[in-house]
């Protein structure tokens, strides 16, 4: 037995041991909703249950989808502008530019780095930030399904990150697609 397979075996034994210990554990729908919204987060025992129970995971994902749907319906009702189209020249200069909706601003800064040619700073207005359940992240995605940036806002309401698609530029994507703020 190699060291690697030995480590795997030990890990498997530990996992199996946990499963036996947690045989009677349960996770109610109410507890799932609580963890997704106001907290507290799942404890170790509940997390282990989620790992080993497809049924519990399915209920978790369904609850999360419902929650996301509820929040985004609320955005629509309150007139949150979570989608914005920006027509940028595809061959525009490598200089910063901003895309603004009523409720969020995305600023792009060019970088001299082929691995990360742009830095993105997404600033979200307070009324939208405050509607985010603790368990969900904001995500900016374009109409073609490409994810631009994902995360939780920092104390100043910003999510900062890099452009991770070296084959295409943000300007090229903006030629074809609108941007949509969503929750994941």
């Amino acid at each position: 037995m190699t060291n690697k397979s030995g480590a795997r075996a030990r890990l498997l034994i530990e996992l199996l041991g946990d499963q036996i210990d947690e045989g009677d554990a349960d996770l109610s729908d109410a507890r799932i909703e609580q963890a997704l919204t106001v907290g507290p987060d799942f404890n170790d025992r509940e997390s282990r249950l989620l790992w080993r129970s497809p049924e519990a995971r399915e209920r978790l994902f369904a609850a999360r989808d419902d929650l996301r749907e509820t929040v985004m319906t609320g955005w629509q009702e309150r007139g949150v502008e979570f989608e914005v189209a920006y027509k940028a020249a595809a061959d525009g200069k490598a200089e910063p530019f901003m895309i603004q909706s009523k409720d969020f601003t995305l600023t792009l800064f060019p970088e001299d780095d082929p691995d990360m040619p742009w830095i993105l700073s997404l600033r979200i207005k307070a009324r939208v930030r405050e509607s985010r359940p603790a368990s969900l992240n904001f995500q900016l995605v374009d109409g073609g399904g490409m994810v631009w940036i994902t995360g939780k806002p920092n104390s100043r309401g910003e999510i900062n990150g890099g452009w991770r698609h070296p084959d295409v530029s943000p300007r090229e994507r903006l030629q074809q697609y609108a941007l949509r703020l969503t929750l994941v």
Partner: protein, 405 residues
């Protein structure tokens, strides 16, 4: 772009990380802020605030920057000195295109905002990493605390670097290396200018560029500022007396107009947010006030301990000014016979300009307990607030809005 490399050693790692800072336009990012791309955004912001707190107000301090720390995963705080240098060079226009020397730095920036540079662990291994890359003309900055306690291995590394024409600077305080951002670098050779002096540490292979405070640029600016304040004092007094009690936020408002921090989401970009800030401060809210404990204390009795505890607790917000400038105050505790003197001193900060021009003092008995200390400090804070013309009693504000660290 301003770049400073730092060594990462430990857990199987032995490599050079890099901090890079770029100035951003206030059109695209709020003035006075940093867009941070790093493993721990809060830690980077904490180091920047501590590194900048002594800077005089001026264009440089309000310039927004982009900070990037690579790699994204490593542990430890020894990149603090590298971050501070990169930040200052970017904001002081020392990120010159075609710069012919590289900067390497390792050092922990103290969390008390005093600009002190603390020792790092594994200094010999860290210097080995730098040794593998540094060339003639490059600069290496390391904590004086490490240099002073140098063992044979460290001295050998320093000797090797010096022989290759690498300048090694031992740094006790950030001001020791301010020539790196105030320029010019390299500084004029001895004899051409008396602005800089080298200490005697050259014998150990370490050169230290120390700039006497009285000849430094911040020092000159402080003198200039003091003169301006002296000249403007009658006008300020007249304004203050005429403003009371109806326009009790006038002075805060004036100060806010000079602070180019972005006070709220709606701040317009065209005027740097000044108009919006004026509106913001016309509303019944004020800037958050943060109080920090000074490390300056020559008394370690129960009252001093209680003072430290109280200061930690006194991180309270006067109003809902999220994103507004933060004013820092030092609280110093000194024993004077059977009494303890408490002094509250405003500081320059990274994001705002303190508008105070005086200290506040209080005195309690050396054997006093927390119950005696708290009202004393509250009275001092009330006195400060009276200068700000904020008609709120700190007692209630303090109890309502204090929050845990």
């Amino acid at each position: 772009m301003s770049e400073v490399s730092f060594p990462i050693v430990g857990s199987g790692q032995a490599e050079l990380g890099k901090v890079s800072c770029v100035r951003l336009s206030p059109e695209h990012y709020p003035a006075g802020r940093a867009l941070v791309l790093a493993r721990d955004e809060r830690e980077v912001e904490r180091i920047l605030a501590d590194a900048r707190h002594d800077e005089p107000s001026g264009a440089e301090i309000t310039r927004p920057i982009r900070v990037r720390v690579k790699p994204s995963q490593f542990t430890g705080e020894s990149f603090g000195l590298a971050l501070a240098i990169a930040d200052k060079r970017a904001r002081h226009d020392q990120d010159i295109e075609g710069q012919r020397f590289a900067i390497f730095a390792t050092g922990v920036l103290s969390a008390d905002g005093a600009g002190r540079v603390g020792a790092v662990t594994d200094i010999e291994a860290k210097l080995e990493v730098i040794d593998g890359t540094a060339k003639a003309g490059d600069v290496v900055a390391l904590p004086k605390a490490n240099a002073d306690a140098a063992g044979t291995g460290l001295n050998e590394s320093l000797d090797r670097l010096a022989q290759r024409g690498v300048t090694c600077l031992s740094v006790e305080h950030l001001n020791d290396v301010e020539a790196l951002w105030l320029g010019p670098w390299p500084p004029p050779a001895k004899g051409e200018s008396n602005d800089h002096s080298r200490d005697d540490a050259e014998a150990t292979g370490i050169k230290s560029e120390r700039t006497p405070p009285e000849s430094s640029r911040p020092g000159r600016m402080a003198v200039l500022l003091a003169l301006l304040l002296l000249l403007a004092a009658p006008a300020i007094w007249l304004l203050a007396t005429q403003s009371l009690p109806n326009d009790n936020r006038a002075l805060v408002r004036e100060a806010a107009l000079n602070v180019t921090d972005d006070a709220c989401d709606e701040a317009p970009r065209d005027d740097g947010g000044a108009r919006e800030r004026a509106r913001f401060f016309d509303q019944p809210r004020a800037a958050p006030l943060q109080i920090v404990m000074s490390s300056e204390s020559d008394y370690d009795g129960e009252a001093a301990e209680a003072a430290a505890s109280l200061m930690r607790e006194l991180r309270f917000t006067l109003a809902t000014g999220d994103g507004c400038p933060t004013w820092l105050l030092d609280i110093a505790v000194h024993q004077d016979g059977t009494d303890i003197d408490i002094t509250m001193t405003p500081r320059w900060t990274a994001t705002g300009k303190a508008i105070f021009d005086r200290d506040w003092t209080g005195r309690i008995a050396a054997n006093a307990r927390d119950s005696a200390l708290r009202p004393t400090v509250e009275t001092m804070i009330n006195a400060m607030l009276r200068q700000l013309f904020i008609q709120r009693t700190v007692g209630s504000t303090f109890r309502e809005e204090q929050h845990e660290d």
